[in-house]
Amino acid sequence: MKPLKHLFGIAGMEAEQLEYLLNLSESFVELSRRPIRKAPTLRGKTIINLFFENSTRTRTSFEIAGKRLSADVINISASTSATTKGETLLDTGQTLAAMQPHVLVIRHSVAGSCEFLADYLDNTSIINAGDGAHEHPTQVLTDLLTWRCSGGFKGKTMTMVGDISHSRVARSHLLAAKLMGYTVRLVAPKTLLPAHVERYGCEVFHEFDKAIPGSDALYMLRVQTERLTDNCCFPSIREYHEAYGLNRKRLKAAGDGCIVMHPGPMNRGVEIATDVADSASAFILNQVEHGVAVRMAVLTALCGGQQHLGRPGRSKQMAVEAMRGQGSLI
């Protein structure tokens, strides 16, 4: 298995690496339920969570993950950071890296921010906690751990509904599906689908009801209401909920074994009806719990000191090569 230095995204990763991280995560689920939720794995390690976009769950999840492993965790959010004084991403990144953290966890609205910074930072591992509409790898690991714990994902079908265009989670899942052996169906109006998305090898639906039969997991993406006014992506919340919202009737059509996931935060009554969100089929809080375990695993893999996971690691070039030649992902 190739060692990991950074976690930019699923692009360029190997199935073996994802399997390894999922296996490691499982042990951390158990640790997180013990009376004493602390392990010394990352004692003496410094982790900076650098969040340029608002986030509660992902940032908290990374923070708890680091602390449970005894790392020193520092949180920086855009509102308190130097960026409000006009400092560039590069300067902020270099300044923090000069303080010698082991890991920078970055969320930024610009796609490619992590790869961009990594070109300039030598001794710091970077974890992508979401970059624009590009990738969100720890969310996908979280989802896969949840799915694995509730029946498994091999050969199964995930039906993902909502704003695929602007979703980094969607892109990471579309890549992970190839590696890990599940199928993704996308459901959205064309206004919320990016160009040539079918080249990922996914099925594309515009009618939710047609995509439901045969689904093993329904994955509801958060609707960002600013898309409504800014980009004419859909006419109204009312019509969106009618066309793409997950209600009791649709859940019933999916059958008993079908689980419901959501990366959060939810808009109740928009992409998901309250009774569905609170039903036994919803694994949304399990995702949140598993998110901590997954981030513990990623932090451990990047700086936990196991010899076989040492540096140097996957380079940006591997992600580039994975995309070059348009057939390579299909």
Partner: protein
């Protein structure tokens, strides 16, 4: 021959304007072309051009010099030096400076400054609208009298159909050419790269080809109604090439230019979030690239122009989505264009015509020819020499090239302006 004479011996002289394409000598006297042929006598100065191509100094009709206003990116002197390092002796500079070239004083100031630099001809392109804001027409007659050779709001499209109609009507009243940066901003808003499979994978907002095509389609209709001279800047899509081809077949006065990056590179260059491959219009698909090449081959595209757009590192080092649009091109235009000759797309003569006589004809310039008594602006290059592009060795202030580290075939050995050697042995002289 006199002491001021320069004799370029035994080169492959290519002068499309006069149909010359043979190995012979070029005699320069008193800063002017004195003749093409075989000359026995010796001149004060001789260049042995055996194995090299001798052609008119290149004309680049699409350059951003950044002066006045953004001299940290480029200025008239550094841009002129970059030009002659690339074999270019005449450049047309776009009006999106600060202040804009929307009044005569700025045009005169640029011409005066370029005269002081004295390395290459600088012909300003005047703005079509004041402040490039697409509302009120500039004083085109006055700008023309002050040296502007065409009109454009480049960087910005003339988006308003009514204003574009009036601009074409007014400009064509005096036979002025309007150059359009065709981009329907309602379709490209927020975009950074070509919209397609690559933009989808990178999660970077895209600019669809229809943003370019739709505006050109509209403009061609207006050019038909107004009988105007309409020139499409930096054509990049198959749809646009098809539109221009059809318009020309109809006999409309529609012309276009292609930039080397659009016929040599595709959107795959942006993989890895490479901001030095970001420009507007963006690098497109392979199908688009091949359509641009076909347009060059069949004559739909008259001109090769670089859209030389230097930017400071700070404007590029901020992630692909935030980076400024544009790349430098003056120093790589010749070797990249020679690729068309090596690939059998164009004859050497036709390739050189698209960088000399064709833009000269479009813009009514005296340059771009080796005619007797024309100003002796000459480019000498070794078509087979190889060299590697190093962004840190560029003469331009801009470092933003997608060809960094790439090997080029074809190297300028001498650039001569008004009979004076201004570039030789890799060094700009004076």
């Amino acid at each position: 021959m006199s002491a001021t004479d320069l004799l370029i011996r035994n080169g492959h002289v290519v002068d499309p304007a006069n149909g010359i394409d043979e190995v012979c000598d070029l005699w320069i006297s008193n800063g002017c072309i004195a003749g093409v042929g075989k000359f026995d006598s010796d001149a004060e100065q001789t260049i042995d051009a055996t194995g090299q191509v001798v052609c008119p100094g290149l004309i680049d009709m699409h350059v951003h010099l950044r002066e006045p206003g953004e001299e940290w990116k480029e200025d008239i002197e550094s841009g002129s030096r970059a030009a002659v390092a690339g074999g270019v002796t005449s450049i047309c500079c776009m009006p999106n400076t600060g202040p804009h070239i929307d009044h005569a004083g700025i045009a005169r100031q640029i011409i005066e400054r370029s005269g002081q630099v004295g390395l290459c001809n600088v012909h300003p392109i005047g703005a079509v609208t004041k402040n490039l804001d697409g509302k009120e027409l500039t004083e085109m007659r006055e700008l023309s009298r002050s040296g502007c050779v065409a009109f454009s709001d480049d960087g910005m499209p003339i988006w308003h159909a009514g204003v574009m109609r009036k601009a074409l009507e007014y400009a064509s009243s005096f036979d002025f050419m309007v150059i359009q940066h065709a981009e329907e901003k309602q379709l490209t808003k927020g975009g950074a790269i070509n919209e397609g499979w690559i933009s989808t994978q990178l999660g970077v907002p895209g600019m669809p080809a229809e943003g370019e095509d739709s505006m050109i389609a509209r403009d061609i209709m207006l050019a038909r109604r107004t009988d105007a001279r309409y020139h499409v800047a930096h054509i990049s899509t198959k749809g646009a090439v098809d539109l221009v081809r059809t318009a020309r077949a109809e006999g409309l006065k529609v012309t276009t230019e292609a930039a080397p990056h659009h016929f040599a590179l595709t959107e795959e260059e942006v993989l890895g979030f490479n901001a030095d491959a970001k420009m507007s219009p963006p690098l497109r698909t392979e199908a688009d690239r091949l359509a641009v090449i076909e347009g060059l081959r069949d004559g739909t595209i008259d001109v090769i122009a670089t859209d030389h757009a230097p930017h400071h590192e700070d404007d590029k080092r901020c992630g692909l989505s935030c980076a400024a649009f544009g790349i430098v091109g003056l120093e790589t235009v010749l070797p990249v264009s020679l690729g068309l000759v090596r690939d059998g797309v164009l004859s050497l003569n036709d390739m050189i015509a698209k960088l000399t006589s064709n833009p000269a004809t479009l813009l009514n310039l005296d340059s771009g020819t080796l005619s007797d008594s024309a100003a002796a602006d000459v480019c000498i290059f070794d078509p087979d020499a190889t060299w590697t592009v190093d962004r840190n060795q560029l003469v331009s202030k801009g470092r933003n090239t997608p060809w960094h580290g790439k090997e080029m075939t074809g190297q300028v050995t001498h650039t001569i302006k008004d009979g004076r050697i201004v570039f030789t042995d890799g060094v700009v002289v004076g």
